[in-house]
Symmetry: D2
Subunit: 427 residues, 4 copies
């Protein structure tokens, strides 16, 4: 098998310059969820000349390319395309200065702070290599460029819009994510690998008035602040230390000026869990606390609590993970393939395998310069010096990150695809 | 003196329809501080035909009209023109739907939630009546339409831009404000009548990151929430019950989405006080708490604490207040002139008298339908049923509020102006 | 009248050594509310030889002495006897080292931290002087030594136990308190002088368990802490700045060790107000917050909220206050009689006048060395250097505090009593 | 080996009545750490007739019995003896009503809420059986009855007082704990099994004063409450969800009455962790927060933060655990031996093995009626219906808990001891 992947990947070196340009271009032009117009257009252009059957506008802005290459298994490879409303602070020459109108009608800065630009680049590279080497393998490859992973819904939207009618039921669904680990490394684990995530939008209602006469108002700023502090107790008091959960209030917004008490406050709460029972308990506690804190303030109206978004737990199929890990070990060597820790991040990748009943595997690819990573680790400064995903400082190094991700995708796909005559000839 | 005011005010009834149109037009077109372009233009137009010497652009968008009418005292009458970033909820047929870009570059709704539209209308009515009856009095009247009272600085800006070179040093500075009291009533008090106000902008710095990995971040949302709760103790623990102070956090803003921990939070704090020592103690406590809560969070950087705006205590000159109250009692009858309670609201009106060394008096004019007010009072529902200034529901009734305010201004001015030959002839 | 008081007070100087001994003895032997056994015995002993008709055990440990001295008005003079569960830190040679069992069965330190030892000393001195000079006045004097002022109920207990059957209806009820003001000064005001006080005992119920497994418990420590912080908002947000109220949590107690989560927490809350409406609003807010915070914690049982104790507002009768102030001014000179500020402290003194329908007046007598007070004031260190009542450092100076209080009581009583033949002879 | 244990345990059934009496007696007479006078006396009495070489007063109240029974390995079996300051609420006929004076001089209720009465009973039963069957085995058995496990220090005190001079270096150190698991089950795991625990005593200093004048004080109740709420963020924000830690404030105490603001508050904080780095981070965060909250309050003096007590992580030696688990499986059958979950509880048991360099193993024995446990589990009410250790409701069922623990100790000891001639004869 090594030989097969090595063969297919033979053209990679000559392609790296072009892939880096692609990456930098995408990085400079990040787009929010469901607004991936330009990104999808670039993807479609690049697939155009490669014999993939390309369908655009799948689930909004999604792009699907299918390369039917004779009888054999079907492998679905997925990359997500959207960026985040974060103001980039990397200082890179190709840092984003883009802005966009978000779902609430606000103009916000936009940045690929989660590395989806890298994901798209990887999958474009793999798509091209697999197409170029189609003599070497048999089966079908479906490359799926998904919109709107960040705010969830993108995977489901593609499913609902007929993804599996375009692709058929694949034998395996594969996906990968760039991570704050040393570039050159791949990280995977069987079973649960990523958390469930629930986004809860909380609207708290007070009664506005003049800042100097709080006694005529019900102050939603105080209500929101008390709620945020009390929400800390969900994890500190209500979840066992040996269970894992996160309750983050990512946004608190109320009022615009000091001398007017506003009438509402908004909290955006994110709940992570790895277990359905923990998840239910945490969500119930959030609701209980929000309602009680509104009552403590004498709120004139019940809060509105809306789950706007849910990601399932990401669970890697055990046999498929074993097959994948074996392929990685063959290709990269055992020292570059490590067991991933349980990640508190979430993904809607799992929706794809669930929807079609196929096994799925998700893994991580390091994106941090290995020497810098080692130094940060040695000096105990990993957390301060190695920005994680969603940080305004998150910036994977293009090399060897681009090459590693392309290699991983190709090696993974070939672990399921059948040998082609070209490969057999070479052997 | 009664006769004089009654004579000058003879023309008021025929003018009320026009003044109501003026009021409704201003209410429909509110403008933020220093953006009072349209309002100033309407003011200048209306002054144009009345023999006032009109200067526009004083202190930005301010308008000054001076009517020199023979030897005698100079009376300065001041109205403020600006509106607030509040989304109107009055349901009135002439409710504002306006928006504007605020000082932070955000598009915000705009509403005359503090009644400055009424103030402008009053002063235009008084200006017209005084001009029409100029045979009845002697002296000079300066009508001053001030920008940017809400965020302070407007009065100072006019002073700095030469207001008193245009007007000379007046014998008295007079101003009035519409208040949640029964329409038809005027309310005044000698000595301190309104609070000092300090606006404090607080920027809290954390370290952003992924919502699922709080341990890699310093969460500014929690830091801000803890700060807001702790700031409640300034008034509850550090100011004597028998002193008066208010510490309001009118705005708390951090983050835009649930799964990204932002790197900063912003608080807008307003401090009210009636005494310099209380003021210093409250401001020092705010600073101490903000810094300590940042330390409690392990903030990577000290908070920025900026006093963006300060209003002085508004103090009514005692002899001038006596003269004014006597004039009001003569004109309105004793039952419509009551002692104003100490108001926690603030004004930059006091800047004008301080700057020129003249005595000044500020008073309130009721704007709530008297029957509705009485019923709310009787049923103990004043606070819920009578919206106060800055509420999105604040809506003075045009009648008799417009007439009462015009009458008060004219009666007040004539308490200082000298009788003219017209009046003496009539007598 | 001056002459009369001066005459009666002629014997004071020779008595001061004995009164100081009495004071020091009482200070060394403080007793908690309703435990004033030794104090009452000392009082009865001292009254014994003075021709007062003495009744002990009135309302528990109260002592009443009546001296009927011919036809004329009846003056009731009241002193309270009880001490506080405070560990004395004055460092005085006669500092208390006493302990006692409190109402909850706990052994606690006891200290005259509120100066009732001084009050008893004053009234004993005045009683003796009035008895000695009985030729100089006519009427009746009732000296009332009340138990249990600190935890309220003592005045009511005496009333219920027939105080006014012993005394008759007096013409005036008079009382005085030592205060952190310069020794030698007396301070009074007409109308409201002291606050209402309500003591609220809050029991919060959680579910106990092992400190390492909070998820199996409902943590009452967190519940109590959140409640305390939220209670700060009653004053900061729900009471107008121009109204006065205090909400103090004087005690929070839960648990005894770090690794056991207790099942209950107890808060002792004190609410001060000067107005019935403010009082009702504050008490309602306390209850609302306590209940809501228990709900936020998921408490298995509703909190218990008990008003254990209430003091009324202390209101000085206006004409009686005028008469009293005139007498003080005559006796002390105008520079030693000042208007008292509104005090947030509370008293059950007002119960006596209310119960019998007589006017009552309450005033303060300074107890701090005048030079030390002046220096603290000049250096802005009044709050740190001059301990207030209930502080473990509170320590009135015996001289001239003892003499001033005796003089004030005698001058006050004589302002109502009628001249006697002795005085008239002297005149 | 099965045969050996079965033989030695042959006498158990006839002994159960006596052991239950022993258990009930101990349960009725719980004693606090280092006060185990009566318990130690009972232990010494029972060992007296059994040929053990008994030493009392080891490390305070500890008791050591050594039975040298020919050449062979030495097995150290340890039980802890102390109880907790908890008021028993089990309603059992033999419930404790005992009280004692704790280390702070307070009279507190005492209860065997952690089951050490069961531990002592088990070890006495095993000691008797091993002595009776001494023909069946060779080697030495040391039975160690340790004081003061709850507040730590007991194991170290015995070591410091010459435990291993009495016993020699054992081949293995064994201990067991009754747990809220089904009676009849034993639970063990290799590697880390219990958490590190650090007890942190926090004294917060304010400035006391009258409850009605908070502005003259620095309120330690508010300081303590804010600190407790902020401490919740250590786990919720500073420890990764996939790491395990607990920060519990088990006690908060300040003040005794509502109208006196006390000058100090005391918090008792417990920190649990399974990893040195997490432990250091949590302890540092506790200190940072305590200091900053004192600063936020304007405390006149730095808080005192004292680690009063630390338990190490309990780590089971891997080979020894394998040997033990094999012996348990042989004796009880595989269905009664399960892998223990990581427990957030802590022990000073690990001190013994560390001190002498011997491998050690610690395990759990279920104490809850199996049917009741199964029903609680089935109805999702484990947490409410099955009280955990340290709960006032914690009550192991005597049967089969007593027998199971004795069997486990004997089977465990014999897994190291050598066959004796008696056993060989039988075989």
């Amino acid at each position: 098998m090594t030989g097969l992947a090595d063969g297919v990947l033979g053209g990679l070196d000559g392609m790296l310059g072009d892939l880096e340009e692609c990456y930098v271009d995408l990085h400079r032009h990040p787009e929010l969820s469901y607004q991936e117009i330009r990104t999808a257009a670039r993807v479609a252009e690049r697939l155009a000349g490669l014999d993939y059957r390309v369908t655009t506008g799948v689930g909004g802005t999604g792009v699907v390319g299918v390369l039917d290459n004779g009888p054999g298994p079907t492998v679905l490879l997925r990359a997500d395309m959207d960026a985040l409303p974060v103001a980039e602070l990397t200082g890179l020459p190709y840092a984003s200065t883009a802005t966009a109108i978000d779902g609430d009608g606000r103009r916000v800065p936009v940045m690929h702070a989660c590395g989806h630009d890298m994901h798209v680049t990887w999958l474009l590279g793999a798509a091209r290599l697999l197409a170029a080497a189609r003599a070497d393998w048999r089966g079908s490859v479906a490359v799926v460029f998904q919109p709107a992973e960040e705010f969830g819904g993108g995977a489901q939207a593609m499913v609902d819009d007929g993804l599996f009618e375009l692709v058929g039921v694949p034998d395996v669904v594969l996906g990968q994510h760039v991570a704050p680990a040393p570039a050159g490394m791949v990280l995977c684990r069987a079973g649960t690998i990523m958390a469930a995530s629930d986004s809860v939008l909380v609207r708290l209602f007070g009664r506005g008035g003049h800042g100097s006469r709080p006694e005529t108002t019900v102050d939603p700023v105080v209500m929101a602040a008390a709620t945020v502090l009390r929400l800390q107790t969900v994890v500190s008091r209500e979840i066992a230390a040996t269970d894992a959960a996160v309750v983050t209030v990512g946004a608190i917004n109320a009022g615009t000026q000091d001398n007017v008490i506003p009438s509402e406050a908004e909290l955006r709460v994110n709940v992570r869990s790895f277990d359905q029972q923990v998840r239910r308990r945490a969500l119930a506690a959030v609701e209980r606390i929000v309602r009680a804190e509104a009552t403590a303030s004498g709120a004139p109206r019940e809060p509105e609590i809306t789950v706007t978004n849910s990601f399932p737990i990401t669970v890697n199929d055990e046999p498929a993970t074993l097959r994948l890990t074996a392929a990685f070990t063959d290709h990269f060597g055992a020292d570059r393939v490590v067991e991933a820790p349980l990640a508190t991040g979430s993904e809607d990748f799992g929706v794809l395998g669930d929807a079609c009943g196929a096994p799925s595997v998700f893994w991580f690819v390091g994106g941090i310069d290995a020497a810098a990573f080692a130094e940060a680790e040695a000096t105990g400064r990993l957390e301060t010096d190695v920005p994680s995903n969603h940080s305004p400082h998150f910036a994977p190094v293009p090399h060897p990150t681009i090459a590693t991700g392309v290699r991983a995708l190709v090696a993974a796909a070939l672990a399921w695809l059948r040998d082609g005559p070209g490969d057999r000839a070479r052997a």
